[in-house]
Each structure stands twice: as structure tokens, then as C-alpha cells.
Symmetry: C2
Subunit: 241 residues, 2 copies
DNA sequence: CGTGTCGGGGCTGTATACAGACTGTCCTTT
DNA sequence: AAAGGACAGTCTGTATACAGCCCCGACACG
């Protein structure tokens, strides 16, 4: 693995895990020393993280760890809904290969399994992986590199990803109801794509993303569950400074 | 201006103008020598252009000038329509400041002027500038940094921008009709935002982008007009290699 | 004549040196 | 005592040196 990639991944981990608090200045020399690399790969890694949106350039030069207003995350989630809706509509309008549809149904069935009793340890992480896979497959099925790339950029923000809040949601009293609704959306989208119902597929994915917004609402009222959200330490409550 | 930025802009010009043909390999030393900078800023500039999508990493290392399939551009334009529709809907739902609406109306009026007789030299370039400004203002009015950033990334591809085909469209026999339709869309969107009609605003912006797809269709059948399109040299006709 | 191997050239990734700009502090002056 | 200026430390932007890798071509051998 290249030094650049290594620095990028480790730095992202440090940020997302909250070890680097929002606002912390990241100077090239300090990061270089901390991660044991020279300035050149550190510089490249910082530039990429800035592209992702996890750090931002500050006026005095260099970068700082970003923080995110709750509204901003709501916007990002809704935007993901719109983009995934776009992808679903494309898949429906242009037709999806039977193999892709079958695979999506299989994933849905396995998510059903993972969320039905008996509840075992690790069921939720199984669900998270399956869910992520489902969403990726949906985007791929749309068959547009441009769209896939764009969605990838939105999802790069950890809390905007389709699985960002699923883990925290386990602590939610309505966890079961939300999961049932989510699975109903999944089923509906596949059916809509199969029947070439573009508008329905699009509407469903938009509504699907609203579940994440509900989860965010809840998590913001529950500081303990916030720690289960990747990047949760970067979220600032409504109206700080 | 920094060397990095200078190299980035000049290299982009060389690519978009067609001086660097698609497929041409861009090695750091060659670009550095050609543009009179050292490898360090060249490297940074290439990375940014890769982010924009104008160049792509090639397996043997380094980058090459990208080419774009017609379908890909159609996809990018439709995606822009969806995103601008999203922005318009947000503006409508959340309400737009009166000043922004007034400014948009003013821009529309000036576009009317620019497209009505007497046709002067430069009318079209006026229109292009006003149109670009209108679209930027619309995005800004949505009031979401996340959405603005995302749209900016799609629009970075020159032919996906709202004004990409307007200039070439001047050669189109239906130029006047298309412009009239576009202005009708502009008027309708402002009205919809003003009346808080989110769905209408969104639908109009989507339809608006379809005009660009029509223009692309035409331009692809008219090699001369293709040269008026920024980045036209990068477009490859349906099914090359 | 075809194939395999060896060598050279060029390229990327990385480290590091250096110049200019900036920030923050401390001292001096009013 | 407060304000302004000078200085030191640090940072970024840039250039450049160096190592390892890959690709291509040439040459020799079967």
C-alpha cells in the first residue's frame, strides 16, 4: 500500500472515530510526525480528505477537521434520497438485468432473516453489511457511471451513507417498525424496477432516505447512541457557534 | 496565483480546447516541462483534474485525457436536471428571499432582451453569461451548501454545465423556439418558487435540462457546431472503441 | 523465424531542502 | 498602562534528489 493511501485511511479513521476533534488544525508537519510519513504523502492525503469533505482549508493555511451542523446532515441525507431515487428511476426506465433483480431479492431475504428472531449478537452488523450491499447494487443497476460516481461522493460523508444510522437505530424503541418499513421500501423498489415503474421506484427511494432523517432526529436526542454513529463526534447540535 | 492553480487552469484549457487529444498520456515530467513548473504542482493539478473527471488514471501509471461517450453526457445532463430540480424544490419548500426572486426576474428580463431583435454580435454570449448567472443564483437560493457543492461537481464537466450547448445552439434552426421554451421554464420556476410549489419547480428544472439533451443530439449531427461546444473535442460519437 | 531474457530509459512515489509568508509574543515607546 | 513594532518560530508552496518499478526494445538462442 502506498504511503499516501495509508495516511489517508488512518487519518480518516482518526477523524471519524472522534480522536481528532472538530476544529483541530491539521498542519502537514504535525500529521507527518504523528503518522510517520513525510510531508509529501500527507499533503496528498489531506487534499483527498478535503475533497471528501472531512477536512476543510482554513484561512491561515492548512486544514482543520470539519464539524457538521445537523441541518447539513439532513440536507445530505435528503440529497442522497434524491440521487438514489434518480438511480432507481433509471434502472426502472432502462430495464435491469434479471440477475441483478434476483440478487437484490436475495439480499432482502437475508436482511429479513437478520432482523427476525432469534436476535443474535451481530445480527445488526449483518444487516448493515447487507443493506450497504443492496444500495450499492441498486446504484450499479442504474448503469450510469456518472450517477454512480456522484452518489459515491455524497456517501463518502459517513453519516450520509445508507448504513450510517442503522447501528444506532438498534437502540431506538421503534427499531422494529423502522426496519420493517425499510424492508418494505426495498421490496417495493425492486418490484417497481421489475415492472418498469420509474416514478414509483424514485418516490420509494426518496421516502426510504427519510428513515435516515428520522434516525438522525432520534440520535441527536440520545447522546449515548450518537457514539454508535460513524463520525458522530463531528456533528454539532442545532445552533452552536 | 500559485503554480498549482496556474498549471491546473492552463492544463484544463489545453484539454477543453482540444489541444490535448483524448487518450493522450500526461506524465508529470512532460507536463512540467511543457508548462514550465516543477513536478510537485503538476502532480497536484493532475489530481484535481482527475477529481473533476477531465483526466483519468491509467494502469501504467500517470493520467490520460478522458473521452466521453455521448450516452455519458446525456446521463450527466439528466443528472444535472435532477439536482437542479432538487435545488428548485428546496427553494420553493423553504421559501426564497424576495431579493433573490427579484434578481432572478431581472436576469430573465435581460435574457429576453438579449434574444429579441435586433440581433447584435455578442447577444448570444450575453445570454450565456446571464443564463449561467441565473442557474448559479437558483442553486444559491436553495440555501444548502451540500447541494451547491454537489451541483458544482456535476457542472465541472464543461458539457454538463447549463450553458454548455447554448452557444452551439445558435446554429440550430429551432434556436428561437428552444430559447423561448427555456425562458418559459425560467419564468415558471421563479413563479413556482414564489408560490411554494415544490413539485412544479422541480419538474420544470428537469424538463429544462432536457433542452440541453436536445441540443446535444443536434450538435452530434453537426460536426461544425461541435467545435463551439466547450470540450467538444472530448466527445466521441456513439459506439467507437 | 519465433520466443525468451536481459538491459536501459523513464516514470511514479517519497523524502527533503529552501524561500517566502504569517502568526503570535514580547519588548519598547508613548 | 496600552499600543505598536520587531523578531522568532512555524507553516505552506515549490523544487529537486533518489529509489524502486515497469515497460519496451534489442539481442541471443532454440
Amino acid at each position: 500500500m502506498s504511503q499516501t493511501l495509508s495516511v489517508q485511511l488512518r487519518l480518516r479513521d482518526l477523524i471519524v472515530s472522534g480522536e481528532m476533534p472538530p476544529g483541530e488544525r491539521l498542519s502537514e508537519p504535525s500529521v507527518a510526525e504523528r503518522l510517520g510519513a513525510s510531508r509529501t504523502p500527507v499533503r496528498a492525503a489531506l487534499a483527498r480528505l478535503a475533497e471528501e469533505g472531512l477536512v476543510e482549508p482554513i484561512p491561515s493555511g492548512g486544514f482543520a477537521v470539519r464539524s457538521f451542523a445537523e441541518e447539513e446532515i439532513q440536507d445530505a441525507i435528503e440529497l442522497r434520497g434524491t440521487l438514489e431515487g434518480h438511480a432507481a428511476r433509471l434502472a426502472a426506465e432502462r430495464g435491469a438485468p434479471a440477475a441483478a433483480l434476483a440478487e437484490m431479492k436475495r439480499l432482502i431475504a437475508r436482511m429479513d432473516e437478520a432482523t427476525s428472531p432469534p436476535i443474535r449478537e451481530g445480527n445488526f452488523t449483518d444487516y448493515v453489511a447487507l443493506n450497504a450491499h443492496f444500495h450499492e447494487l441498486l446504484v450499479e443497476t442504474a448503469g450510469s457511471a456518472v450517477v454512480a460516481r456522484q452518489i459515491g461522493r455524497v456517501v463518502a460523508l459517513p453519516f450520509a451513507s445508507p448504513s450510517g444510522f442503522v447501528l444506532a437505530q438498534a437502540a431506538l424503541p421503534e427499531a422494529h417498525r423502522v426496519l420493517t418499513a425499510a424492508q418494505e421500501h426495498h421490496r417495493g423498489v425492486v418490484e417497481a424496477i421489475e415492472h418498469r415503474e420509474g416514478a414509483r421506484a424514485e418516490a420509494l427511494m426518496r421516502e426510504h432516505a427519510r428513515l435516515a432523517r428520522r434516525n438522525l432526529d432520534f440520535v441527536m436526542r440520545n447522546q449515548e447512541s450518537l457514539r454508535l454513529v460513524p463520525g458522530g463526534a463531528l456533528i454539532r447540535r442545532r445552533s452552536w457557534a
